[in-house]
Symmetry: C2
Subunit: 125 residues, 2 copies
DNA sequence: ACGATATATGAACGTGTGTTCATGTAAGCG
DNA sequence: CGCTTACATGAACACACGTTCATATATCGT
């Protein structure tokens, strides 16, 4: 009853696995969906030049919003929005001193991610 | 001659710097635009659950497209598109054996990024 | 050579993202 | 107080992104 000329969609391979042993090993080691989701969000947040620059700057110095904006040459509003995104993923923390908000990296993992990342891209050329 | 009621846009802070010394130190250490752009793209590519899962799987085993699709439960087309994205950023490499394409992580930096990243998100809860 | 299989890819659709603009809030200062 | 400053945020727009669908390419078996 199939139409004669429609090739099967072939959406997936017909056989289930090429090498089921390897697949099972990986499946056992696979991280939880929460960990995957969370890590993907972390990387996504760092997947923007402005936020990378902010994170790198904060890996060197604790800085206020105004200085970050001037350092990067972008508007205060853009910096504030970016900082909020970084804050939501707990990549940065801040303390308030009067009117001024001082931001810093929340923990050393972020600086390490940046180091490893820059090591990767600098080697790749 | 200004309209009387329009507040200055205040797009940027009026004073140039709160702490110019810190800003100058960071500016000297700041990475090149190419490095920043490249790292941002790398993180952006990893900022997707499907590609994270693919990268993690490939950090454990060399796998063909078909097995990856079955492992993750997504279509072959989606996997192929994701692999292309990963390939373009040189995060994965592949070798072809007949009809079958075997993919693997291109270098150890990627596995290290995943390790550090998972360490970060698993500590954060 | 033909059909089946493994993978790649272009187009298109809905959704998400980053910036800007305008405005809000809170703290210092005269 | 009222004004200014430092920062936060909501709306909106233009653009990018991930998936699906359909189809193309390449290789194997017969």
């Amino acid at each position: 009853m199939d139409d004669k000329k429609t090739r099967r969609p072939a959406a997936e391979c017909e056989i289930d696995f090429i090498d089921e042993r390897k697949v099972k090993r990986v499946r056992r080691a696979m991280k939880s969906v929460e960990a995957i989701t969370s890590l993907a969000e972390t990387f996504r947040v760092l997947g923007d030049p402005t936020r990378i620059r902010i994170a790198f700057a904060l890996s060197r110095e604790e800085l206020c919003v105004c200085d970050i904006a001037n350092l990067l040459g972008v508007s205060q509003s853009a910096v504030s929005h970016s900082l909020r995104t970084l804050r939501q993923m707990k990549l940065v923390r801040f303390r308030k001193e009067g009117k001024i908000a001082y931001y810093a990296l929340d923990d050393d993992h972020i600086a390490e991610l940046l180091e490893v990342g820059f090591g990767h891209v600098e080697e790749k050329r």
